[in-house]
Symmetry: C2
Subunit: 241 residues, 2 copies
DNA sequence: TTATAAAATTCGACTATTCAAATAATAAAA
DNA sequence: TTTTATTATTTGAATAGTCGAATTTTATAA
């Protein structure tokens, strides 16, 4: 009883009148990684999988799994792997929300390029304040998607529709609009800038090269270009037909 | 030679094409504290003085002094105390610049109250990106003062004029405008909100009570109020006469 | 100048996080 | 089912930062 009370006091003193659960930078990054893996459903979430996302040592992951389980943010079962608890999911979604809102801010308000915003948002997402995300959301006029086309979770945790059909998975001959990108690395985004592809760009999928899966496409009605299969898998589209 | 080269590479890889010196959160907070003490000139900057600002243990300060001296951000001499080097001063001013710009953003764009912005800016000031502060500055239309009336360092490190005359130091009978506040605690700022005092508010200093230095003032032409000497010392003014 | 108080410094310890290497457990292949 | 490979876990160590207590240095007062 005393412990709970004391803990609450701690939160309150740090975050004013709003009840706010505090996680370390590291904890937040693990939550985000686990959330990301949970989105790629099907697979069970193992320590190694997490260590690959975070590019760190599995030994570190095992430690943190224990810590997050103690905090009741995840459940860990050797059979089932790692699962976010309701609270863990809420917290992870909030981090994603903050990340994507900041990305919109950086691009639209501060004029950063597409390929520059991810790393900065990676820092901004950890700023702790109970109303900051909601105020930013309002200031940005409640955007539904971030500049990479990823849905921005609403304040209540609900998600706008997300796109999952890749350009590479379409039939040759079809047309589509770019709705989102899977890879947000600056290498990929700079390539897209060079090709003049952005969210909303119309792409005609002309033919697929059987040899290596390369795609012959036309971007915004311009002359044909050939891109790799890997490239096509990282473009998510809204089909036209 | 190799070491220097390697170190540069490290910076480059983290911060893109811009050369950018990286400090830890803790180092930045020490720099800021030292900068603040250096502003209150006259006094030599001792480990204890720093520990008072940061509310930590002098033993920790001694360790960090060594670290910052190794990084050539400060010079330490037992006789002269701590002094910021040219580089240390530049870095400290940049942190202050970021802090004050973010405060303007939080108040003007996100609608936070006067007394809420300091703590959030305390986190935002550590976001590392070579062009972020300048872009934010431009977005905010190059403000000269933050919401507490403190001058915002320009990109080149130059400072707009700062105010140093306190309300308490005026002669009874004079009038003035509030130009800045010395204390930025939310307790003080909330009191000011209650009294309806903000930057720019006109105050008539009617009389001083000899007993305890209390000030009888009229705020914006309204009925008389009495405030403490401590209060008067924390209001910085632009005299009218 | 000597005694005393204050400040600076060293020391060992503690937390959070990370890692590499060794070991244990589990899954896959033979 | 036994062997082999993969994965998970433990262990011990490293780093950055912090602290309290002990010690040394410096400044102040008697």
């Amino acid at each position: 009883m005393w412990l709970i009370f004391k803990t609450r006091l701690f939160y309150l003193s740090l975050y004013g009148t709003h009840f706010y659960r505090m996680h370390t930078l590291s904890e937040e990054n693990y939550l985000k990684a686990i959330y990301r893996l949970a989105q790629e459903k099907g697979q069970k979430i193992t320590p190694t999988a997490i260590s690959e996302v975070l590019e760190n040592n599995p030994a570190s992951v095992v430690d943190m799994i224990r810590k997050l389980a103690d905090k009741q943010l995840i459940d860990y079962d050797k059979k089932k792997g790692v699962r976010l608890t309701d609270q863990g999911l809420k917290d992870a979604i909030l981090i994603v929300r903050r990340h994507r809102l900041w990305e919109v801010f950086l691009l639209e308000k501060l004029g950063f390029r597409w390929d520059e915003i991810h790393d900065i948002a990676e820092e901004l997402e950890h700023i702790k304040d109970a109303t900051l995300a909601d105020r930013l959301d309002k200031f940005l006029n409640f955007p539904e998607y971030d500049p990479h086309g990823d849905p921005i979770p609403k304040a209540n945790g609900k998600m706008p529709k997300s796109y999952s059909v890749s350009l590479a998975s379409l039939k040759a001959g079809s047309s589509c609009h770019v709705a989102a990108v899977r890879d947000t690395s600056s290498a990929f985004l700079q390539y897209l800038l060079k090709l003049d592809i952005g969210i909303g760009t119309t792409i005609q999928f002309i033919e697929k090269i059987p040899f290596d899966g390369s795609l012959v496409i036309s971007i915004g009605g311009k002359e044909k270009t050939t891109v790799s299969q890997k490239f096509g898998e990282n473009i998510l589209v809204d089909g036209i037909g």
